[in-house]
């Protein structure tokens, strides 16, 4: 991996939008030689954020866009933001009672939900390449 790489892709917020966005992210990371187990975990987490965005955007009746942005840096860290322009919702409602954000918190090093303008779920993951994988600790399942 050299330098920084970015992916920015969006779709209309419908149920079938999650799949192409996940595949694009997976392909992006595999092309950058991110270690496969990490790719799986990151796609799982981002898949939850996407499902969350789509669910709330769709339920509002407002099929705005859901956007996925990923920035992978040379040090093996990736910042991913999933944003939608859904109508302002109380942060509490957004997190809901589902497992989605719990799963994201287990996998990501850091998660934040910004509801100041639409909703943006920002996440930071370790994305090691195959050689440095052995130095990365396993996700913290005890938290």
């Amino acid at each position: 991996m050299t330098g920084q790489s970015e992916l920015r892709i969006n779709r209309r917020a419908r149920g079938d939008a999650a799949r192409p966005l996940r595949h694009a992210l997976s392909a992006f990371m595999k092309a950058k030689e991110v270690e496969p187990d990490s790719v799986d975990d990151i796609v799982t987490a981002v898949g939850e954020a996407l499902a969350n965005a789509i669910e709330h955007a769709y339920s509002d009746g407002d099929n705005g866009k859901v956007e996925l942005f990923a920035r992978l840096d040379a040090g093996g860290t990736v910042v991913i933001e999933v944003s939608d322009q859904g109508a302002f919702i109380e942060r509490g409602q957004r997190q809901g009672r589902g497992y989605g954000l719990q799963i994201v918190r287990r996998i990501a090093r850091w998660v934040s939900i910004d509801t100041s303008s639409g909703t943006t779920v920002s996440m930071i993951f370790d994305a090691p390449d195959a050689e440095s994988f052995r130095d990365v600790k396993a996700p913290n399942l005890e938290r």
């Binding site: 799949r19 996940r22 799986d40 796609v43 497992y99 719990q102």
Partner: protein, 109 residues
């Protein structure tokens, strides 16, 4: 006298995400006939928490009707999803069909 319990099988495959929520709900309905159910997810390559919500709903119904339940999961992504959600102990999960069936007790219908 109760008839010998038979095992019903519901199989799902592919990528089970929010887009297929309705399909999951439709598929995960508890039939009346069986005393035990095997949910075969061995052909699932990706799943998000939608399936977890549906499985929990299904389990609640199965518990209510005292139907034994087992999940067959072979995908690494799906088993990690279950772990991350903290639901590893919430279901009887197997990675081999034979083991799942012997847990459920009888030969399938």
């Amino acid at each position: 006298m109760n008839p010998a319990p038979t095992i019903g099988v519901i199989a799902l495959s592919g990528e089970l995400d929010i887009g297929r929520r309705a399909e999951m709900q439709e598929a995960l309905r508890l039939p009346a006939a069986h005393g035990a159910m095997l949910i075969d997810l061995s052909a699932v390559v990706y799943a998000d928490s939608s399936i977890l919500a549906e499985l929990l709903r299904f389990r609640a119904e199965a518990d209510r009707r005292q139907v034994r339940l087992a999940l067959l999961i072979t995908s690494r992504q799906l088993s990690r999803l279950v772990e991350y959600a903290g639901l590893s102990e919430a279901f009887a999960i197997f990675d081999a069909r034979g083991a799942a069936l012997s847990y459920l007790g009888e030969t399938p219908a």
